[in-house]
Subunit: 395 residues, 4 copies
Amino acid sequence: MTSTASRPAVADGVKQGLAQLRIETPSWGYANSGTRFKVFAQPGVPRSPEEKIADAAVVHRLTGAAPSVALHIPWDRVDDYAALAAYATDQGVALGTINANVFQDDDYKLGSVTNPDPRVRRKAIDHLLECVDIMDATGSRDLKLWFSDGTNYPGQDSIRARQDRLTEALRETYDRLGESQRLILEYKLFEPAFYTTDVPDWGTAFAHCLELGPRAQVCIDTGHHAPGTNIEFIVAFLLRAGKLGAFDFNSRFYADDDLMVGAADPFQLFRILHEIVQGGALDPALGIAYMLDQCHNIETKIPAIIRSVMNVQEATAKALLVDADALAAAQRSGDVLAANAVLMDAYNTDVRPLLAQLREESGLDPDPIAAYHRSGYQQQIERDRVGGRQAGWGA
Amino acid sequence: MTSTASRPAVADGVKQGLAQLRIETPSWGYANSGTRFKVFAQPGVPRSPEEKIADAAVVHRLTGAAPSVALHIPWDRVDDYAALAAYATDQGVALGTINANVFQDDDYKLGSVTNPDPRVRRKAIDHLLECVDIMDATGSRDLKLWFSDGTNYPGQDSIRARQDRLTEALRETYDRLGESQRLILEYKLFEPAFYTTDVPDWGTAFAHCLELGPRAQVCIDTGHHAPGTNIEFIVAFLLRAGKLGAFDFNSRFYADDDLMVGAADPFQLFRILHEIVQGGALDPALGIAYMLDQCHNIETKIPAIIRSVMNVQEATAKALLVDADALAAAQRSGDVLAANAVLMDAYNTDVRPLLAQLREESGLDPDPIAAYHRSGYQQQIERDRVGGRQAGWGA
Amino acid sequence: MTSTASRPAVADGVKQGLAQLRIETPSWGYANSGTRFKVFAQPGVPRSPEEKIADAAVVHRLTGAAPSVALHIPWDRVDDYAALAAYATDQGVALGTINANVFQDDDYKLGSVTNPDPRVRRKAIDHLLECVDIMDATGSRDLKLWFSDGTNYPGQDSIRARQDRLTEALRETYDRLGESQRLILEYKLFEPAFYTTDVPDWGTAFAHCLELGPRAQVCIDTGHHAPGTNIEFIVAFLLRAGKLGAFDFNSRFYADDDLMVGAADPFQLFRILHEIVQGGALDPALGIAYMLDQCHNIETKIPAIIRSVMNVQEATAKALLVDADALAAAQRSGDVLAANAVLMDAYNTDVRPLLAQLREESGLDPDPIAAYHRSGYQQQIERDRVGGRQAGWGA
Amino acid sequence: MTSTASRPAVADGVKQGLAQLRIETPSWGYANSGTRFKVFAQPGVPRSPEEKIADAAVVHRLTGAAPSVALHIPWDRVDDYAALAAYATDQGVALGTINANVFQDDDYKLGSVTNPDPRVRRKAIDHLLECVDIMDATGSRDLKLWFSDGTNYPGQDSIRARQDRLTEALRETYDRLGESQRLILEYKLFEPAFYTTDVPDWGTAFAHCLELGPRAQVCIDTGHHAPGTNIEFIVAFLLRAGKLGAFDFNSRFYADDDLMVGAADPFQLFRILHEIVQGGALDPALGIAYMLDQCHNIETKIPAIIRSVMNVQEATAKALLVDADALAAAQRSGDVLAANAVLMDAYNTDVRPLLAQLREESGLDPDPIAAYHRSGYQQQIERDRVGGRQAGWGA
């Protein structure tokens, strides 16, 4: 019952582990979003990729843990990507993953890379190739592919033919990648397609990545599973197979709710990070990209993203607190209650004081949310960002 | 194994039952719709309430079973509702249920009738009262209430206080109703709220309706349940309690997919209609409103609605074919397989010839879809409805 | 970020709240249990109701919070219930809720109180009445009714007729109750019935209890819901309606897994107890019975039950830590993030030191699990309870 | 609307397709089964492997489509498997798949091949190897492996270490197989393990089979998925990858309900068989094993199995009726409604007359259920099979 977190040696290990944790924030998380019923606009929302990057930089300055920002093309299309990268550097952040978007043109009504019409498929693949061009310009390592492709009605299209088309598109895109670039394939059970989805689960993504080659990896979005799916199992399995490439963190109670990570099931987030820590995957050498992918529909966006970064940090700190030797011993001896207790002891620890201390040692405010509110940034953007067109999904 | 449908006496009973079936189509089903990712616009979509009514009238002329059209306020707001009703009559249909909409104003970000802000609650209730005014003008019997109200995060608001506010709003609205008007309360598990929904399930709707009085009834939307929910149980329970007021028919594989009714699980639709038939609820005297509530995101809207009407007719015909005496005998004797076989015998019957015959006897084309395609209506509206603003959610 | 738990006034309030918490343990939780695939017998398991009570008394001596034990009839049938009650008193615990069991006779293959055969229904009702006789003898307040009744195949029986039969059985049983006795009706989505269940959800249980009268209340088993169900909503709703009678605590990842409460989703348990605390329902005057209903299939039973009691205590302590004023203020102002933060601040607090202190103040060991292991009780029962027939489901 | 089934050429194609369909029935389907709450014994249930085979032979004689019976070891352990095979041949059926059972010894409480204890793992692997010995004796082609292995509590064991152990066990077993033998790996989401399952989904089974080699294939049990899983997608994907080995047919509303195939969602069964037909997989050369895996807990077992065989036949007949050219044309043109209509036209056809005709042409009774009831077999076994121990799970 003595708090493990208070022992100095343990605390040092946790701090070293946390120092490795880098969370990428998404440019579109700073923009307006909503449901099919309504997008509630918020004051101060960015009107350009540069303003999104400025917001992301604020998050990084306050947390010290969010050094890069992911882009979504075409939402963040600019004329000069090198200039955008330079702007980001000036702000103190880097451009990260390039997220391709092939779901918002009218042409994509029946799919993009799996569309029955070869003309539409060509257009979609060309967009993916353009994204690699952008990666060359921004210096991004990862191309993240999520396809909304699927069907709404039984019989609408051939499941198998769509897999053939998907294979072709992935191959052409993969072959275009540079040596240090990766293709990250995301899966999702449903939405916007309501009968079949062409990459519905980790098995499908895994099979395609295996066929593509070593630079193709799977992305786990924590909101993209069927009810009851054990996500940490998938984490452990893909890590063991060398095929875990990235996370899209968020949380959900029902479907792809895109709430703040850790808000719906903080214990699940801890279990996921326990697998990460056990698998040594905080080490940047393993190349796992930790990203947020959230929609802050009703809460203020920047503090929501700060809170999300802190939630991942807290879960990681707890995972680092797990007494691995005691756990392994209990597991070996088949002591179910003792093994569970070792895990719960770490989870039940309040790691917030430790994180506050770590922030202070790094020259940060121990309470990033309070610091944000004191900074006046929110008032400033609400004042300044008037006129123009606020960014949103599709903007 | 002799097809029960072919016996003349049985066929007559089925025809009499079907003659009672009236399916209301929703004005917004003819308009553009989509997901949060994209609304794919379709050519020929109506630009006014009148054009929606015209489309609904086409569905009725071809099926003979869709004599009324539901309105959504404010989507179908006009200056003169009596004139709109007269226009509908001219077209051969009636105005039906008035659906209140309190989810698309910026004020409703944190709820409408359950909003913590009393000013917003007042505004929302005023809208509900306005809808009753409209009912007076249109001669509509039913006010359908669906609230998007809820919360996204634990702690965001008090679950209990929101119930108190809901009770107040429902009471004021109910008290405003005329003697022959009804309040129909709809429930939905989630979306757009992602943590709590203020009317999430039939139990909540039932409890409120019970408290309100005899003219408050529950609406079952077939897409609004948790996975695994047995909808026909709810139908049977509410019918027995005298509290089933209406259906919003559609179908779903995952969440509230709003696909064509009968497209995802035709056997479930049959089981629902079996409860309806068993409960005598096809009889208009019981006052159950059978409505479609669907989004035709990728398929052509008018033929999709015709197909949906036909799907309900086919499921009803099969339910009417169930040999009630044989079923009751098998149930009484505890013969599980025999009882199930009686039900399946009806389900497995191909009722399309019977329905074609019934249409011909009523002077309709036996194949309404083919008749629609031959009619040239689709080409005409695509040609004519150019310019103006196509109707959609929020339009 | 200053731990609220460390402020003396707050700690006192938490202690007073916790002092009200009484958790009933189930006699069958000490017995062998398993899945349909296998029951793994454990050494030292009780062979009689007395030995179950002895185990329950150990849990109470170590936790100070489990002063009563629920019985399951016929599993705990004895000749002299007054003697059994006296034995319990000697051991330092009381006999609690009587749980009726009408699912393990061959007669109940097609149901008990809803069986199509009136003879079987009579037998089942007679068993319920016998349970009330037992309550008279044991001085128990509550009769808990869970029915496995339902059907496996569409058509097997009439949903509505089964409701009629259920109504009759409940009425006769309710009318037999004494003035200070209650009927507690439990619901469950599925298992062992796989198509319909006659009391599948809280709405059904609520409607029956409402019809029965004020001494009929609903029991929430935390493992008996469809995926995605918001249990705390049901808690708040039933509390508001004065119809929440009892909890069967346990936890689940998939179906009715019957794992230790708090093991699968500790945050959900906290949210449930937050509603309890908000509704003032820790107060014994409200009469909510807090019971465990778990199966310790692979873990040692007594320490698993101690751990479960502690899990409920920890969740309750956190719920008591919620700053109600700050929460209400944030809710009123519509500050989503602030309101959520107030709740999470309490949840993230490590309450174990406070609970250890509370135990010591009550003369208990601060670490009940360690105290159990030191006590030698487990070794003693494994040595002593040899021969005879170990209790289990159906034993 | 002209019934496609009535056209002679179409009917011939359907009959040829159906002639290829062979459904294996499971020996344990004839035995007693139940839920964790109760096993309801039925009169006439077999008391030996021979009596199970005799029942299976009756099903084949009446349906002409169930020529083999699967064994479960140790439930069907005999001294002389060659003699058992000869007995089966005499009865007119063959012995089919050997199903290994490593979940009912006390040793397997914490797992079999993934148990932390190497001694238990050795024992489990030895059982798998023994099963291959049995295959050599019976001439069986397939070894079906389903593991109940998993954990109930977070932390209980290392997810990754269990995968390592699983890999070892599968490898040793695979290497023992003869050239014409196959390893069929089954997956299941949960039950009896309630936190992790070591082979929870098709992705895990697929990855292991890929690593093992060409004679390792995946088995799809239609009741083993998370809610909302699109099973026909998995069928199409595994067929395309050459890794679909077998089906365990049954149906479910909630979890692994093990009801009669086609009883819960006949449209889903049709969609699955549509993928089979589209993939040419009725052809025995593809080696897909079609098996039932059901529990007839409350319905009479032999007619339930006959009904199940007929349900698969009916779904297959409908799938064979799909007008593949019209479907492909509609899909190519992007006509969503037309493509769906082609599929639904086949589904809505009543294929029972065609199947009755096919049976008569094969010298069978057109109504196998009626023929069974007339045969007196049920009365005979109820009379004869008295005394001895009725077979059941674990018997």
